[in-house]
């Protein structure tokens, strides 16, 4: 389960990390790794999952000084994660890789094929649909919290969720 709670001394940790404390950054890393990892997993093949996750934290480290605390650290991290995933696909010669892209030897071939199919469809979703599905599935964030984060009503968040699932359903069907 992804921990979404803000660290009690997060502000101090960020300030210490900004002043060069690796220990402070390590605490932030340990806390937010599951969040970043689970989001990357929905969009990036297993083979590159570790590299992209690491790239997110390197990017975080390098731009840490620019974090001013206007948004939550987790929100900032989500933005950096999306940027790194986009960067990953920019670097790839063939962004729409075929189903036979390199994956770890599958323990269950059907599941791997399903994962590839879902990831490919997921990536083709508009960003706002990707985001709500990531919040609900990858981060397991309840709808009420999503509504609060997105500054919208509970009904609006559920409506967006339904539209996102509908769009994904169509994309998956077109890929099958």
């Amino acid at each position: 389960m992804v921990s979404r709670r803000t660290l009690p001394n997060e502000e101090e940790l960020i300030k210490s990390a900004q002043q060069g404390s690796l220990d402070a950054f390590a605490v932030l890393y340990e806390h937010y790794l599951p969040l970043v990892f689970s989001r990357v997993r929905y969009l990036v093949p297993e083979d590159d999952l570790e590299d992209v996750t690491q790239d997110v934290f390197i990017a975080t480290m390098r731009s840490l000084k620019t974090f001013r605390g206007e948004a939550k650290f987790s929100t900032w991290l989500r933005v950096l994660t999306s940027r790194q995933i986009a960067e990953y696909y920019r670097r790839r010669r063939h962004p729409e890789a075929p189903l036979a892209e390199n994956f770890h030897a599958p323990s269950d071939p059907r599941m791997t094929e399903e994962a590839i199919l879902l990831r490919q469809a997921f990536r083709r979703l508009p960003k706002k649909y990707q985001e709500i599905l990531l919040l609900r599935f990858a981060e397991e964030m309840p709808f009420l919290e999503i509504a609060s984060l997105k500054n919208c009503t509970l009904e609006a968040s559920k409506s967006l969720f339904r539209r996102a699932v509908h769009a994904l359903s169509k994309l998956v069907a077109s890929n099958e």
Binding site: M1, V2, A17, Q18, Q19, G20, L22, F25, A26, Y29, E30, L33, P34, F37, S38, R41, Y42, E46, E50, T53, Q54, F57, I58, M61, R62, L64, K65, M111, E114, A115, L117, L118, R119, L133, R136, F137, E140, P142, F143, E155, K158, S159, F161, R162, V165, H166, L168, S169, V172
Partner: protein, 156 residues
Amino acid sequence: MNKRTELSPEERLADFADRLLSGTISEETALPDVAPDVARLQKTVTRLAAGLPQQGPDPELRNRIRANLAREWQAHGPRPDRGIPAWHSSRQRTRRTVWSTALAALVVIVIGTLAVPLVGVVLPGAAQSRSIVLVIVTVLGLLLGAVVWLFHHKLK
């Protein structure tokens, strides 16, 4: 009437996802007898919940990334602000503001003093007004420059 059937389609799908993710219903029993379009969306939710591995990062991966980050930190990690404490930079800023204001005031006074005899001398009409305009423009320019400079340093 069943409470769930009274829900809007959005709420029903959200409720379905909630129950699936919380484990209240399993993937096998997750498709109740509902209209085909609702069932199709529920199936997509089920596939999304089950189709990708859910386990978090394993300890080896966690440690590998952490070790790489530590190396990266030495080369590209943030550096302290040259050890200048916050109170010092704040005091320095205040001192700079006082000095720049004093300097601007001095410049205004000097130009004003120089301009007085010029204004006092009886010059032909056009030349006199030109001198006054020149002095006013210079003073305003200096004031504007001082304000811009102050704002620039305040934002830093």
